[in-house]
C-alpha cells in the first residue's frame, strides 16, 4: 500500500512549522512519528497535499517539573517519543501513570517512533495516552500564528479525529498536574498485546482528594472520543463503593461494534476495567 503523492517539507523549529502550515493551508498535515498518520495515508483515508516533518525539532522533546507543592505541573514536550516517556525518571517519579501507559502503546518498534503530541493531535478514541491524560487532567498547549494558548484536556478532543485545534496551530506541550504517590490504575483489554485497546480504563486520585485530587476515571473506545466516566466519579464522590460506582461506568457512553466486540460487550468491559483500575488506584494510595 502506497500513499498518494504529497509534498515533503522538513522543518527545524516551531516557527518554521507554523510558517509551512500557513503556506500550505488546510490540506497540509504535520508529521512527527507518523505511526497514526502514515497507516491511514497508505489506506488513502487521508490524502494530505503536504507533510511537514516536525521530528527534527530537537527542543520539543523533554519532561520537566514546573512549580512546586500542590500546584506543581509536569510539562512534556509534544515531540517526546513513547519510549522516551516510558523510561523518563522525572515522569516516573512525578506522574507515574503516564510512563506506564506510554509503555503499553503498541509494541517497542511503535514506541520508538510515536510521540505524545502526535497521539494527542490525532484524536483516536482508542488511544492509550489521551485516555491517561484525560484522567489526569491538565492542558494541551497549542501554538499558532497568534501565539500560545492552553486548552483543558476536557475540551480538547471534540470528535473522532477532531480536536479544538485550528488548522494553523500545532501541539507543542502537554501539561499535567503532578500526582506523585497518589494512587492510579490503567486497565487495557486487547486480543494481542500490540493492538489498540478494545476498551481501556484509567483511574487516578483518592477518595479524600488531597494532592492528587478526587478519583477520576477515563475510558478509551467507548464513544467518538476518549471520555470521562462521570456517573462513576459522581457516585464515588457521593460515598458509593468502588463496586457500586464501577457499575455506572458505561452510563453516557456510546460504544460502537466491530469484529472485536459488540456494544454490549464493550459496556461490560468498561464496567469491569473501571472496577479493576479503581481497585488498583485505591490499593496503591
Amino acid at each position: 500500500m502506497i500513499p498518494a503523492p504529497f509534498e515533503y517539507v522538513k522543518v527545524a523549529s516551531v516557527d518554521e512549522a507554523l510558517s509551512a502550515l500557513a503556506e500550505h493551508g488546510e490540506d497540509a498535515k504535520l508529521l512527527a512519528g507518523g505511526h497514526s498518520l502514515l497507516p491511514i495515508m497508505k489506506l488513502r483515508l487521508a490524502i494530505p497535499s503536504a507533510l511537514i516533518d516536525i521530528s527534527g525539532i530537537a527542543d520539543l522533546s523533554y519532561v520537566r517539573v514546573e512549580g512546586d507543592g500542590a500546584d506543581a505541573i509536569v510539562a512534556i514536550g509534544a515531540g517526546t517519543r513513547h519510549y522516551e516517556l516510558e523510561r523518563d525518571e522525572v515522569a516516573r517519579a512525578e506522574v507515574p501513570m503516564l510512563p506506564h501507559v506510554a509503555g503499553r502503546v503498541g509494541d517497542p518498534q511503535v514506541r520508538h517512533r510515536g510521540t505524545i503530541g502526535g497521539t494527542t493531535a490525532h484524536s483516536d478514541p482508542a488511544s492509550d495516552l489521551p485516555t491517561a491524560l484525560l484522567a489526569l487532567g491538565g492542558t494541551v498547549v497549542l501554538q499558532g500564528p497568534g501565539g500560545r494558548r492552553e486548552v483543558p484536556v476536557t475540551e480538547f478532543w471534540t470528535g473522532f479525529f477532531e480536536t479544538a485545534m485550528s488548522p494553523d496551530e500545532m501541539v507543542v506541550e502537554l501539561r499535567v498536574p503532578r500526582t506523585g504517590s497518589t494512587g492510579w490504575g490503567y486497565e487495557k483489554f486487547t486480543r494481542r498485546e500490540n493492538d489498540w485497546p478494545i476498551v481501556a480504563a484509567a483511574a487516578v486520585g483518592s477518595r479524600g482528594g488531597g494532592a492528587g485530587g478526587p478519583l477520576r476515571v477515563a475510558l478509551a473506545n467507548m464513544a467518538g472520543t476518549v471520555l470521562r466516566a462521570t456517573a462513576t466519579e459522581e457516585a464515588l464522590a457521593g460515598g458509593a463503593s468502588i463496586a457500586e460506582a464501577a457499575e455506572l461506568a458505561d452510563q453516557g457512553t456510546s460504544p460502537g461494534a466491530d469484529m472485536h466486540a459488540d456494544a454490549d460487550y464493550r459496556r461490560h468491559l468498561a464496567r469491569l476495567l473501571t472496577r479493576r483500575a479503581l481497585e488498583t488506584a485505591a490499593g496503591a494510595a
Partner: protein, 167 residues
C-alpha cells in the same frame, strides 16, 4: 527529492519520491530483500530494521524520514568473512525459524531486546518481541534462540559499524 542514507555502513544518495516507504527503498532501490513486507500495516514486524540504533517497522517510515540516518538491515549483520551475528547464529542453532518469513524482522527486533536487556527471561523476550508475529507459531524456539544469543555477551545487542542499539 534527494535522500542520503547510510545503509549497512555504506552511504548512498538516491533520488526518491517523498511517498516512498523505507521498506520499499531498501528492497527496490537498494536491492536488499531480506527485509520482508508482511501485513504492511505496522502489526507483524517482518519489515523491522534498525534506524539510528532503534528498531522500527520500515513499512511505516518514509525513506525521507530516514534522510541522514544509519540504517541496518539483516544483510548488514554478518561479518565480511561471513561470520554470523550472535543472534543469527543462535536462530540457526536453536532452529528459531520454520518458513523463515518473519525471521529477518525477528532477528532485528531481538537485537533491540538484547540491547535493552542483555539477559532477559523468557517472559521478557516474549514481551520484547510483542511487535513481531510468526505465522508458523514457532515462538518457543525463537525465545530459546534469543536467550542463547544473550550468552554471547554485549555483541548480541549491537549492530555492526559501531552503531549503538538503544531500545
Amino acid at each position: 527529492m534527494q535522500v542520503s542514507i547510510t545503509v549497512n555502513g555504506q552511504q548512498r544518495t538516491d533520488e526518491v519520491e517523498p511517498r516512498l516507504l523505507l521498506a520499499h527503498y531498501l528492497r527496490e532501490t537498494c536491492g536488499l530483500t531480506a527485509t520482508n513486507i508482511g501485513c504492511d500495516s505496522t502489526s507483524c514486524g517482518a519489515c523491522t530494521v534498525v534506524v539510528d540504533g532503534l528498531s522500527v517497522k520500515s513499512c511505516t517510515v518514509l525513506a525521507a524520514q530516514a534522510d541522514g540516518a544509519q540504517v541496518t538491515t539483516l544483510e548488514g549483520l554478518a561479518g565480511s568473512d561471513g561470520e554470523l551475528h550472535p543472534v543469527q547464529a543462535a536462530f540457526r542453532a536453536e532452529h528459531g525459524l520454520q518458513c523463515g518469513f518473519c525471521t529477518s524482522g525477528m532477528v532485528m527486533a531481538a537485537i533491540g531486546v538484547l540491547a535493552d536487556n542483555p539477559d532477559p527471561t523468557d517472559r521478557e523476550v516474549r514481551e520484547g518481541l510483542e511487535g513481531n508475529l510468526c505465522r508458523c507459531t514457532g515462538y518457543h524456539n525463537i525465545v530459546r534462540a534469543v536467550r542463547t544469543a544473550a550468552q554471547a555477551g554485549p555483541a548480541a545487542g549491537q549492530v555492526p559499524q559501531a552503531q549503538e542499539v538503544v531500545q
